[in-house]
Symmetry: C2
Subunit: 263 residues, 2 copies
């Protein structure tokens, strides 16, 4: 059984990828919708929240965890790996390796929340994969909110204007590969592509799901279909509609409420 | 001593107004920056958080409280008034009365978060003040994030595009008065005015501060200057810079951290 958590629902993009790769695996998803977003909060607060999220998931006896949140991955991963005795995957390493292997120009961009960009975790991971690659990181704190508030239709003028503002420093920078360092961003990849045409986008959630599947995959199990349970820290009334944005045609069950402050 | 809380820092606009009207009064401000925003969360969660916020403030022996958050006021006020034995002011009543008294066309608009608009608290309060007034409410969930992420300069293209989208239903609706039902919105009133020129804007935080001051004011005290203490639930490192957006030239001290989930 794999546990997956995110500050909210963006991590569902990684869950879908993982469920496609490991269809026999049981999974528990926790979205901290009662305290979302993490990306504008301090590192100490993000670490505290992430430990609670893991405590909750570990109560189910999970064998491995995916921190499907760029902010939590960039901030809390060392603490989580120290505190918990199971493999803990983040969304940074796989995307960084894929970006370093993909770039031809030797220049990679990273988009993330304020906290993710400030702590430089993606930048370090790309350098770890290939010291010669130059990395330019840009914080795009409004993107999460544009996605969560439905500014996601292709061509949306508000989202395009925000993308133009945020991505201006990357124009003409010579990057040919761009890491989407937050699991919300794939939903508005059309806006990023409009501003930076021809640049290869790497979804950090998707890359992490592939890496986790290849490390844990045991060849399809016994043919049974894995069960997926969803938990959230806000009232789950609108869960299915909200999750649809991230999960497309994937079947979505209801979600259960958990008071995460007790963990 | 007056206690003031908000989901984040928007309530500081009301605090400044109150401090100007009651300069001798001691005040405690709590901003729930570790769980901001409230406006997109469920009513049950908002009530739970608001009760914790009040529990914290009441530990200081406050004589009255101002819920300087449109979302919390529209959702939690009845519960807070029942649970706590001091006067609890929200930001709805004063703004609603002022709007009903101001309108000449008999048509008033309300801007608020999703939760505030869904529960219709401002609408009911305007009707309570004057049954004949027609009210049109519009949810503007992105506005809080535009303010918190610095899209506040007069003429900002992203904020203008968002204002045009949200306010379209109010164009040609005949409203001449518009309640800013969230204490963040006065910071981008220029964008609202650009889309709806000539409409009179009423700041709910300012209106509430005036009402509270006139009900509690005792003529200037003994000339001493009141003390203001600030508490937040996220790490307070960047408090002063973040608060400056809302407080202008008002003197800002440092903020202290509180683990609000314990209350």
């Amino acid at each position: 059984m794999i546990g997956i958590f995110d500050s909210g629902l963006g991590g569902l993009t990684a869950l879908c990828e993982l469920a496609a790769l490991l269809p026999h695996e049981d999974m528990i998803y926790f979205g901290d919708t009662g305290r979302v977003p993490y990306g504008s909060k301090s590192e100490a607060t993000i670490v505290r929240y992430s430990v609670q999220d893991m405590n909750f998931l570990c109560g189910f006896g999970i064998d491995a965890a995916l921190v499907a949140c760029g902010t939590a991955s960039s901030t809390a991963l060392p603490t989580l790996r120290e505190k918990f005795d199971i493999p803990v995957f983040g969304v940074i390493e796989a995307a960084a390796r894929e970006a370093a292997a993909t770039t031809r120009s030797g220049r990679v961009g990273v988009l993330g929340t304020s906290t993710t960009v400030r702590n430089g975790a993606f930048e370090r991971a790309v350098k770890d994969a290939d010291m010669s690659v130059e990395v330019t990181s840009v914080a795009c704190p409004l993107f999460v909110h544009l996605v969560e508030n439905g500014f996601i239709e292709r061509g949306d003028a508000v989202t395009l204007a925000a993308a133009e503002r945020y991505l201006a420093p990357l124009r003409g920078s010579g990057i040919d590969t761009l890491i989407l360092g937050c699991t919300h961003y794939p939903i508005i990849s059309w806006a990023i592509e409009a501003v930076l045409p021809g640049v290869r986008l790497i979804s950090s959630g998707e890359a992490a799901a592939k890496m986790l599947a290849s490390e844990l995959g045991h060849g399809g199990g016994d043919g049974k279909q894995g069960k997926i349970r969803f938990f959230v820290s806000d009232t789950p009334d609108d869960f299915e509609a909200a999750a649809r944005v991230f999960m497309g045609s994937f079947p979505i069950g209801h979600a259960e409420y958990v008071d995460i402050s007790k963990y």
